[in-house]
Subunit: 204 residues, 2 copies
């Protein structure tokens, strides 16, 4: 199985700017990428990082500075056989969660992200293409249906949790023991229950 992990190597995780400066965002994004790639590796597959610029990681890197959808579609167009695309900010990823995707049947297997995103795509049909713009999970389902392709969804909290906003850091601290969670702890982040029942992160 060819597993691609797209990564913004230039200015990742801009929505975390309220709590992390640019260098920290890069470091934290790299820690999440490491967690995702390691989980892929532990399923017995080798991840390929599809980066917008050259980066130094322990897995094969392919550089493509086009938009996310264009870069992924170029991979889908040229590969024979199934391709899985796993977002690099799924800090809660585990090998068990990924195995549920790899074992799911269907020509197109999708894992929805929060707020209409598509966090994992497994394309077993050579004609399937992605479009991450807008409400992508709806578009991907419709696109597959129009083409007569069978779509399967995998129901996973871990894989549906992409880490975009400061509020998502709570999930990393509570549900991961990987590099990203360790990075947050090292940088003074902690889970805090507010009086109104809302749980947030605090930084020392």
């Amino acid at each position: 199985m060819h597993v691609v992990v797209p990564f913004d190597a230039r200015d990742p995780k801009t929505r975390l700017a309220p709590v992390l400066d640019p260098d920290e965002r890069r470091d934290f994004a790299r820690a999440m990428l490491d967690d995702v790639c390691r989980a892929v590796e532990e399923t017995g597959h080798e991840p390929t990082v599809l980066a917008t610029a050259g980066i130094d990681v322990e897995w094969p890197v392919e550089v493509d500075d086009r938009s996310l959808s264009e870069a992924i579609n170029a991979v889908l167009a040229r590969r024979d056989g199934p391709v899985t695309v796993v977002m690099a900010d799924l800090a809660l990823t585990t090998p068990e969660a990924l195995d549920r995707v790899f074992e799911a049947e269907g020509e197109v297997v999708l894992v929805p992200g929060r707020s209409g995103g598509t966090n994992v795509v497994l394309a077993r049909h050579p004609d399937f293409r992605v479009d991450y713009h807008g409400v992508s999970i709806r578009d991907h389902r419709e696109r597959a249906a129009v083409a007569g392709r069978e779509t399967t969804s995998v129901d996973s909290f871990r894989l549906s949790t992409d880490v975009d906003d400061p509020s998502d850091l709570v999930e990393v601290l509570l549900h991961s023991e990987g590099a990203a969670a360790a990075w947050l702890v090292d940088h003074g982040f902690d889970v805090h229950a507010e009086d109104d029942g809302v749980t947030t992160v605090r930084r020392d």
Copy 2:
């Protein structure tokens, strides 16, 4: 299996006040309760609604106006055999997702909710008690560990999505075909992709 669905029959879903008036919040909360109870029923179990006041539903109702944790712990204390507690605002619940909980091994099976909550508890050990205050998933895990109980987590996006805030309505519209989703459509709600890539709901 005794399945309890706790329900605030008085002033439910206060955090939806920015988009729904009090009557609408009651109606929408009832639609979600119906979806959850129907999914429980489709697994072959009968739900009992544990309500803070009398309500008219097609399932058995037990009234207890104490706090959520106190009311649930009273059930856990007096029942013999396993008890499952499923929150009434899990509008994305499916029988398949619930079956994964019922089939999971362990003395205490937990499904985390977003932001540190605990959306489903299956207690197979008679001594287990809940405390929904604060970061409950962490407290439930620690409590089980201290008592030497084996805890299992079920990884489900559907069951981790409790509908509290207006932003959660996107998930109902995109991932459910139940009564709550139909209610939202009937009341003019639609999914809308903003220019900045964030997906929200709009109301006509």
